[in-house]
Amino acid sequence: MSNPLQKHLQNGFADFDGLRISGTIPLREDLVNQLIADVLQSGLPTPSATPEAKIDPNPLLQRVKSARVRFEAGRAVLDFEVGV
């Protein structure tokens, strides 16, 4: 079953002109390592058994207005802002 969010992610939330999301996400070590692995493998297709059921975050990433990583109490924290 397709995720209703998927359609909006795919078109970069074009139906939500004026959308603003800002926030802070603590970055877990395994997530950072996964992100590095994704970057190192960029250009290669991501294997997926059911690709149509997966969320592609790239259109949303193109809407990122600012992103900053800082270190707080021994862990990395991502501050970001997304706007449409």
């Binding site: 926030g23 996400i25 996964q34 994704d38 997966k54 969320i55 975050p57 790239n58």
Partner: protein, 180 residues
Amino acid sequence: MRHLADQIQSGDFSSLAGARLDLSVPIKEEHLLRAAQEATSRGGPARVTGLRVHANNQVEMHLEVEKWGFKQSLSTVLEVERNLGFPHAPRLVLWLPPAQAWLGGVLQVLSGTFGLGAGVLHAKGRQITLDFAAGAPDDNARALLKAVKWAEIDSREGRLILNARLEMDEDEVATPKDFL
């Protein structure tokens, strides 16, 4: 990022433990109309034929009710309560105009035919309440509701604006095992 997105889609919010998000989501009246029409197009006697969003949280709605050979067009202006009751009692409260308080009883009777689940809609006098917890379509939605700490609705001509804060508590964040 794909890994994170896939985790979230599968109901695993553990990667977001400790995260805080502030959202401002504009919802166009044509999307609200489409959602209302979809909800009322499942064989029930009521059909939403028009919807306009005005300032000051006023929503103008046009309905057509057809039952037992009786067909009636109705128009009403609902006032949308700003506060959505998070985190303790998440719900959307709509107020009917005083002269149309009787419509609440009709809506309560028809709620089953609006495609809403049991306990989602409650009407009492002028007040119509939609219970988000009872209406959550799946476990992901319920996990997200848990994360909403504050939310309110504002309006401009032609659109509603949902403002919300989500906090993924480190000791409460949902993972797939919560849904077993």
